[in-house]
Amino acid sequence: MTKQRKLSYLLNLIGVAVVFAVMTLLFAFQGFGDSTTYVEGVCTTACYTIIMVASLNLVVGFMGEFSLGHAGFVSVGAYASAIVSGALAGKGLSDLALLIVAVLAGGLVAGIAGMLVGIPALRLRGDYLAIVTMAFAEIIRVVFCNLEITGGGRTMSGIPKLATFHSSFWIMAVCVTIMFLFVRSRFGRTVQAIREDYIAAEASGINVTFYKVMTFAISSFFAGVGGALYAHYMTAMIPTNFNFNYSAELLSEVIIGGTGSLTGSVIGAAFLSALPEFMRQFSTYRMLGYSVVLVLVMLFRPGGIFGRWEFSLTRLVKKIAGRGKAKAAAAGALPQAAEKKGE
């Protein structure tokens, strides 16, 4: 049993490493010709977008609450991390160490913000969270536009470029893995029970408000992590980057990928963040394209493309090896991170 588990972990680690190695090699040997650097950039974007979308899926897909202001938490993470890395720059930390500190700081501040927003909003039943999060994102944007430390409405630039494809990839892999483990623990089970029926959840001894706030804070934490990577990859940002459109985009990626499927979030985010980049000339139609896809998905696959299905490398390997598939399903391995990102 334990051996099987270890094997499954190893398998997934190898899977992620292989994807990483292939992409690294492609980038190192100019696998995309002249546009290699450009493609690498797109893939980095995809990495942090995946974190943001997967984290939003915790709330929308697993907890069943609507958040219309995820970009607000992304921006809190982005600005908090930029301030921290700005303060710590030149203090002898290596780039990677500084990035990790900045990312954790961004996540933490965003997580706290999530808790503060969640406590009043999630006590109430109904779609209050959607309204409150939307208001929060707007307020944060206005606040950041008026604070000196966040650039005072102008572009905040000169953020050290600490995030590379390599670091972003591994941070993404770690984040998605943690979210997956969260979902496959008592916490995920509890939160899904709340989604299914909060009255029955309460009658089963579940402290509904507590678990909702907790999940929302965790989701916000990872939104902040995504924002921190964004800041340290883009090196410049303005509060209006994180407007309602950005929240709506993240939400549509969750819905298209599949509410309640982290696999769907990973693939959906990777694909949808890469696609418009490759069709720059049509970028004006980006939101229109999203809307059309969204409507089509809603019509033909209301649960999203992947529904609640999760990819499992262990299961796949076992299937290929031709061994009992029932066992594989029960073993429930951590999959996810091994998804391919972009082209």
């Binding site: 969260f182 899904q192 089963s204 001894g205």
Partner: protein, 270 residues
């Protein structure tokens, strides 16, 4: 807490003068009950009598506007539902409320909050404690599914179970909370005679094995008469009779309010 002056055993459930008012409507008024250990008490009454409301009061869904209730001598008024569940009262619902899109076994596991103590870090690093506790509750959930005759269905989606099995799954989920008092809201509703018979066996088995008390709402009079030790009858929110099945069955007010009169009256009126 202060009123444990009597020498006799503290009742599992005691309600005193319990009442609730919705606007002008007194849905439940001056409700008193005492349920001893391992007792099975029936709560009956015509439609809209306030039976489900009593359950909602005892489980903290509604806050009583009057009176108080105690679980094993401990005052429960004002506690939140999940706190009351942890204290030892669990229920099923009249209109089944399962976690529909979750597997049968996850429905049961979701109610095992008390058995799980591992925290976030342990969940993320998958420490031995995580595996141990998860294995424990899986084993226990399987046992409970066996109790309600749902072995072999554990990996189905709850939604896909036939009606009668969904009702039994709700009982398993309630059992998973480790309660002292089980509230069953019309558990046999919509069941055919065979299913009802099976349900009765299960209720009997549960009482024997787990030593719990049961308060049962049921419309099927023959069923109630057969299994309940005591019966309390509600009508328009007030208790109109209480006693053994025989006493209640012969009580003219009960016959009038619940059994005979409405139909006869209706026939006369027609």
């Amino acid at each position: 807490m202060a009123d444990k002056t009597t020498e006799k055993k503290v009742p599992v459930l005691k309600a005193q003068n319990l009442g609730i008012q919705f606007g002008g409507l007194k849905a439940v008024d001056d409700f008193n009950i005492e349920i001893g250990e391992s007792e099975l008490v029936g709560l009956i009454g015509p439609n809209g009598a306030g039976k489900t409301t009593v359950f909602n009061l005892i489980t903290g869904v509604y806050k009583p506007t009057e009176g108080s209730f105690y679980l094993c001598g401990q005052r429960m008024n004002g506690k939140k539902t999940h706190q009351i569940v942890h204290a030892g009262i669990a229920r099923t619902f009249q209109n089944i409320r399962l976690f529909k899109k979750m597997t049968v076994i996850d429905n049961v596991k979701a109610a095992m909050q008390e058995h799980l103590t591992y925290g976030l870090p342990q969940a993320i690093f998958r420490t031995p404690k995580y595996w141990r506790e998860e294995a424990d509750i899986t084993k226990r959930a399987m046992e409970l599914l066996d109790v309600v005759h749902l072995s072999g269905k554990e990996n189905l989606e709850a939604d896909n179970l036939p009606y009668g099995q969904q009702r039994r799954l709700e009982i398993a989920r309630a059992l998973a909370t480790d309660m002292k008092l089980l509230l069953l809201d019309e558990p046999a509703a919509g069941m055919n005679p065979t299913e009802t018979e099976e349900l009765l066996e299960i209720i009997d088995y549960i009482r024997d094995t787990f030593k719990i008390s049961v308060l049962l709402i049921e419309h099927d009079m023959s069923l109630v008469m057969k299994i309940c030790e005591r019966i309390q009858v509600l009508d328009f929110g007030t208790t109109i009779a209480a006693g053994t099945p025989a006493e209640v069955a012969n009580n003219p007010r009960v016959i009038e309010a619940y059994l005979g009169k409405p139909r006869k009256e209706a026939a006369k009126d027609a």
